[in-house]
Amino acid sequence: MESKETARDGNQNNRDHKDQRRRNNGTKQEGPKREAILDLNKYKDTQIKVEFIGGRQIVGVLKGFDQLMNLVLESVEETLRDPEDPNVLTKDTRSLGRVVVRGPSLLTISPLDGSEVIDNPFVAAEVQA
């Protein structure tokens, strides 16, 4: 009687294991929750500079974002480039208003506050050399 009972328990255990295995196969093995490399919450409602693959450059106030680094920016100003040489930025800007930025074409994001443009430190070095 007792042995029968344990046998049934054993079966039950076996089935549980199988269930478990099936479930594991069904769902992807997930490690610890993946966190974004950069916490953009820190920059919410502050001005950030965004550069794109291809060379466009904008400045805007960060309003929102998602896991894929798509961004929502407001009061966006795009820095226009020299039509003759697209690598050269001009001082001209144009307003784009509210903009959704696509994550996949993003190159860099940086805060405007605490960043400053410095003179090219290598120019002097070249002259010396």
């Binding site: 929750k33 919450n41 919410k44 794109f52 693959i53 291809g54 466009r56 904008i58 309003k63 929102g64 974002f65 998602d66 798509n70 961004l71 929502v72 407001e74 966006v76 480039r81 039509p83 697209p86 784009l96 208003g97 509210r98 903009v99 959704v100 930025v101 696509r102 996949p104 074409s105």
Partner: protein, 97 residues
């Protein structure tokens, strides 16, 4: 301008939830722009302005009555309707609110 959805029922422990709820989701903004005139700026210096008909997860977009503009301001079109591949899209700007 942008409405931030605040949900008082969110508990403090749901940190992830807090993040997704308190920020404006980009795809939501695009969704709200359907039926309105938008400017799609590519990673190249081309731009497409037209009425947004729809988009998918890759943000491939369908535009109606589209004019294409290059960096020198030359325009092309209008094209009645077009599917624009999302791979080259850098920004989508809603011209009207």
């Amino acid at each position: 301008m942008a409405e931030v959805a605040t949900n008082p029922s969110v508990d403090v422990t749901g940190k992830q939830e807090e993040v997704t709820i308190s920020t404006v989701l980009p795809l939501e903004i695009i969704d709200k722009s359907i039926g309105k005139v938008v400017t799609v700026l590519l990673t190249t210096d081309k731009e497409f302005t037209g009425k947004l008909v729809g988009f998918d997860d890759f943000v491939n977009v369908v535009l109606e009555d589209v004019t294409e503009t290059d960096s020198e301001g030359n325009t092309d079109g209008p094209v009645k309707i077009m599917l624009l591949n999302g791979g080259q899209i850098a920004m989508i700007s809603s011209t009207e609110d």
